[in-house]
């Protein structure tokens, strides 16, 4: 649950935005790798993330290749 407390110091709220973005990026990196390792296709991962196949491929293909993760073409 996200607590939108109006009395919160804006410094804490802004720092939360930074921490959430970084966490979201790291969770995405790790979960995309897991899904593809489990045999998901790029298309299915894209659907799950609500983005295009091109977008998810562009963002993750190089990193996953360097990690030695084999990915399925479709």
């Amino acid at each position: 649950m996200i607590d939108f407390d109006a009395r919160r110091d804006p410094a804490d709220g802004l720092a939360a935005v930074v921490a959430l973005r970084r966490l979201a990026d790291q969770v995405e990196d790790s979960e995309v790798a897991r899904a593809l390792q489990d045999g998901w296709t790029w298309s299915l991962v894209a659907e799950a993330l609500g983005v295009t196949r091109q977008a998810v491929h562009k963002k993750h293909a190089k990193r996953l290749k360097a990690l030695g993760i084999e990915t399925r073409r479709r």
């Binding site: 804490d12 802004l14 720092a15 939360a16 930074v18 990026d25 790291q26 360097a66």
Partner: protein
């Protein structure tokens, strides 16, 4: 922009890249410079911020920031980063500020101490919050770093 950087200051920049990679961060941020500086500027361990101390302060800052919106990241381990992290604005800005600090002091070479002064300049963001979390006074740390550069 690295022409004026001393060998040790360049090592800090390389070290920051290694720190970002180690932490699974796709971007090199000011806090990764701070981690790389922990073993190279005596003022940091003197303030209780050796490498582990900085890591603990950054963890505490992240947990506190996430807790402000009711989120906990406990148990999440980022996956390793095999690709080259890019310099983020916070790190670029710290390096530019390091250059400015050196010019303002009339120092020809940029040493790790100047990089630390650059990292310590911003008033808001992850680094000042982490320092606050660790009970470290930013101005005092700056003064100690200046003194170290003077000696």
């Amino acid at each position: 922009m690295f022409e004026r950087f001393s060998h040790d200051a360049r090592e800090v920049v390389k070290g920051a890249e290694a720190e970002a990679r180690e932490l699974g961060s796709p971007a090199i941020e000011a806090e990764h410079l701070l981690l790389a500086l922990a073993d190279r500027v005596a003022a940091l361990p003197a303030a209780g911020l050796d490498h582990d101390g900085v890591l603990a302060a950054l963890d505490a800052e992240r947990d506190r920031s996430l807790a402000a919106v009711g989120v906990s990241a406990s148990g999440f381990e980022p996956s390793p980063l095999p690709t080259k992290p890019k310099f983020a604005t916070s790190a670029k800005s710290a390096l530019e500020l390091a250059l400015r600090e050196a010019l303002a002091r009339g120092d020809k070479r940029i040493l790790p101490g100047h990089v630390l002064l650059g990292v310590l300049r911003p008033q808001a963001g992850t680094v000042p919050r982490a320092l606050q979390q660790a009970g470290v006074d930013r101005d005092e740390l700056r003064a100690r770093t200046e003194a170290e550069l003077d000696s």
